[in-house]
Symmetry: C2
Subunit: 581 residues, 2 copies
């Protein structure tokens, strides 16, 4: 044993105890005749004291050689500290050191091991093992563990069984973004890494497992946006003999449990909102409802006048930004520039100041009178002192742009409070979405999602209108989970593949095993998956997932610490029956 206690547990009750500690030198303060060292481990920091008068000469001298991040072991006596530090649990004591053993020296670290470090992202990633010593990263990993354990306990207590599904599976044409693995034993053939265990969990339902979950790595070889990783973790769940309502209840229960256990927050029953409503009201299928700023559609009044921009538009829609009625012309112009950025893509913006005296001043006063503007204010819910921002154009695009503006304003106004949690369900997603590029419909969720029976008749005539038994859980403007009731009979599944443009042969070659399984007594079933990385980041009040992942990859999919991916030997390629092209 290298220690009798850790660096976070000693306090006044231990005074006069002989202890052995081990850890890292956080910092030392050499006052000549006295030398203090902060000793750090995962559990905390304990102050050590080396005193010319009270310490042995060689121990006292050795302490002067300690550099930052040296690993040491000490023996000593717990004594009362003169200058107490009420901010840390060990702040009332210090250790008068009698023995010092340097376990390992350290080069000067390339960045400071402090909560606020001087290391940039790149250098932190290269030396991730040092970055992990910092509280923000270390605590994020501990937090992730705690969340995962709570998930497991909660689901296990509800009779869910965690089943490990395979990582070496089959590539599908759907799987344009599959990572593949050449097989040595099966020449010219490849495994794929799962983008999700979807078909396996459905087969477990066919197999009578009844309630399945798994916290599992998934893989997607896609161009990485800022906060995506090629490997990510899902809480993957499936239940048999359930309807949508049952699934929503179980996983709402899980989420409420997490909020309560992890954050100490009790939330009301989750609101439910249809996809259609979410799109009309927030321009977004994952609305952040921590704040209002709901959309007001202004077509009626806006198009009744001679303003050509609005008259040419499919949709005129606005939001009221609270308390910014006094924005200067410069501030407004900056915001107009912001919505014109290519990432947002609006061509212009109309604004209406709602004066405190109940009058209005707009950028379109030439076309609209006070009555018109009063109507806009009513529709957008604007109060005196607010500002209404109005966008116009093609309906879908304009909603998307206004949603971006809504989120931007909320951020600027501090309405997206990381300590506030506003979950909801978005339900009744469309089954299919039209892909302009390929000119055909794709499954919005995946091809195993069941259409609502009452919409089945629209599949031939108006496929875009068919709603699915699909749902997303949304938390603070992020989709943290999504799922559906699945198709569980062969005929419907075959039909679905047909509508998605599969030939009968393709469907059979790729998913024959699943359709075969459906012929042997498949129960009705459904489920969902949470993105664990995102979930813990949001629960942790963070915007980015990266510090909740021990060894993340960069935007090129590289691990810069170990320098992967890398080239491999010619002989290895040969064994795998492949060549570099």
């Amino acid at each position: 044993m290298y220690r009798s206690h850790n660096c976070g547990e000693l306090n006044a009750s231990h005074i006069n105890t002989e202890v052995t500690l081990a850890g890292w030198v956080q910092k030392s303060r050499d006052k000549g005749f006295m030398n203090w060292v902060d000793l750090r481990d995962r559990y905390g920091i304990t102050q050590l004291i080396f005193d010319e008068g009270r310490s042995q000469k060689e121990v006292f001298e050795a302490a002067k050689t300690l550099g930052r991040e040296f690993v040491i072991q000490i023996k000593g006596t717990v004594i009362e500290r003169e200058a107490k530090n009420k901010n840390i649990p060990t702040g009332e004591i210090e250790i008068l050191v009698s023995e010092l053993n340097i376990l390992n020296a350290s080069l000067t670290p390339p960045f400071t091991i402090e909560d606020e470090t001087d290391g940039g992202e790149d250098i932190r990633m290269k030396y991730r093992y040092l970055d992990i010593r910092r509280n923000p990263v270390k605590n994020s990993l501990l937090f992730r563990h705690k969340v995962a354990m709570e998930v497991r306990k909660y689901l296990s207590d509800l009779d869910f069984c965690e089943v490990e599904t395979p990582y070496l599976i089959k590539s599908t044409p759907e799987g344009a973004r599959d990572f593949v693995v050449p097989s040595r034993m099966n020449e010219g053939q490849f495994y794929a890494l799962p983008q999700s265990p979807q078909t396996f969990k459905q087969l477990l339902m066919v197999g009578g497992m009844d309630k399945y979950f798994q916290i599992v790595k998934c893989f997607r070889d896609e161009d990485l946006r800022a906060d995506r990783q090629p490997e990510f973790t899902q809480i993957d769940c499936e239940m048999a003999f359930v309807e949508q309502e049952d699934i929503l209840n179980v996983f709402e229960g899980l989420t409420r449990h997490l909020l309560k256990e992890i954050k100490g927050i009790e939330v009301e029953k989750f609101p439910r909102m249809t996809y259609e409503h979410a799109m009309k009201t927030y321009g977004n299928d994952k609305p952040d409802i921590r704040f209002g700023m709901e959309f007001g559609e202004l077509n009626e009044v806006a198009k009744s006048k001679e303003f050509p921009v609005f008259n040419a538009a499919e949709l005129v829609v606005g939001i009221a930004a609270p308390g910014v009625g006094n924005y200067t012309r410069k501030e407004i112009d900056a915001l107009i520039d912001w919505v014109k950025r290519p990432q947002v893509g609006a061509s212009g913006m109309v604004y209406v100041k709602c004066n405190e005296d109940g009058t209005y001043k707009s950028s379109v006063d030439k076309f609209y009178d006070q009555n018109d503007l009063r109507h806009w204010a009513k529709t957008t819910g604007a109060q005196p002192g607010d500002m209404i921002f109005v966008l116009s154009g093609p309906a879908d695009k304009t909603r998307g742009q206004l949603s971006a503006l809504r989120m931007e304003l909320a951020s600027r106004l501090g309405l997206r409070k990381p300590t506030e949690f506003a979950p909801l369900w978005v339900v009744d997603f469309p089954l299919l979405e039209f892909d302009e590029e390929s000119g055909r419909y794709h499954a919005m969720h995946h091809p195993f999602t069941s259409p609502k029976p009452e919409d089945m008749h629209l599949l031939e005539t108006n496929p875009g209108k068919v709603r699915a038994n699909a749902y997303d859980m949304v938390l603070n403007g992020n989709e943290i989970g999504g799922g559906s009731i699945r198709i569980h009979d062969k005929a419907t599944q075959q039909l679905m593949f047909k509508y998605l443009g599969f030939t009968e042969e393709e469907a059979k070659a790729q998913f024959g095993f699943l359709m075969d399984a459906f012929q042997f007594g498949a129960p009705p079933h459904g489920g969902l998956a949470f993105g664990l990385d995102r979930l813990v980041a949001i629960l942790g009040g963070q915007e980015t997932i990266r510090d909740f992942i021990a060894f993340p990859k960069n935007n090129s999919g590289r691990d810069v610490m170990i320098d992967a991916p890398s080239t491999i030997d010619e002989s290895q390629l040969k064994e795998l029956h492949i060549k570099i092209d």
Copy 2:
């Protein structure tokens, strides 16, 4: 909700309750005017009754159409059963059915869904989703979940933090058996799937994580022996500031906890045995100590006489098989044939019958007198009524052969009881082992294992004699876990790579990140990994791991259910910058 109760929970206390159940038709017995159906789900079986007199006509008729494995939902009343079945929890009641809803029909399954099935291995694997409905497989998966949860709870309670390490890592030349993954974004480069998270867990120790664990998939592309899988699961653990003793104590504690919680068995403190002792006494570094039959080395007496076979041998060694002194000549010959099989490889075997009257009768009476044989009996611990079997030849090979014979005899004699658990630690493994093929030493455990300081001086002169701080946990003749205290300083790690035949450049290219990390304050650390698949199989009293894995692969590494691996599109290969060779 498709059900008010599951099929395992109704009993006499529910009589007269209206219930809704859903599940699979296990079997039906049609007696003309009466029809019984056993309805099955994960939780049990409930008997349904359709009665011409008491059921509605259409329900009664519909029940006659039900085939095996149909999925149905029923409503009905719990009534007392006439012929009670005390063997199942629901055996006192049955459900008088008032409504029947066929949720899904089923083709006749290709094998019976019974504990003892008529399906062979191949067909069971092809229809694994049906196989999972069978109790032995279903219960194995539930059992695995229970073990994994207990492991997680136990380690979490000891402050271990589960950290997910990456799956897309770097291939190493050591990794001849790496599965690799071509990178789309990094042309001509490959990730590798981890054979274990070894270096990452060490980096977590450098990062101050202090106590790490992870239940994690690992991958090895090796020719599959009967009971190996290309993807397998480890309970991977590491601790900082510990010595070997600390690690043995923690994981002995975990194993005792599992035996107690899962099996209700209390075991004594685990015996510890050196590798050297295990090899000399059992011919095996994972001895099954549920039974004795320890080796007796007979060189002294055996070589004192004129028996040329023994005189030419490096080692003469025997075991006493209890109670088989009355084996017939035919039975003995069969055993001699058995040790001559190529898998064992002995060239012959000497035997000594220990008669009840204290005399001996051996196959080498020509050379050895009763005194000699009495000495053999004493050395091998043979009692009257036992039989001594003696092998001879090169020491290592002969020990291996005798070990195989010992295990075979124990199996035949019923000494390997699946309900008995005899764990132990084997310690002081050699650091290196000589590989005849390459003509050089390899790391027996892995290159990160630390040599015992007191043996360091032998590294140059007698590398095979250097012992490592390495240990295995052995349970019932299986290695279920193994680990070591690691090297934690750059100089020793460099030296180790040198002894293992790495050039300085190779070591740096492959493991530079680890040696770099050691320069920034690496704490002393060590750990181990358990094989979860094997552990649960042994705890479950089974010889094979396959039924503890939901979707195992066959001996060619194929998933015959989904038919993977498979060919992939030319366009996909092109995107990955590879060609089939």
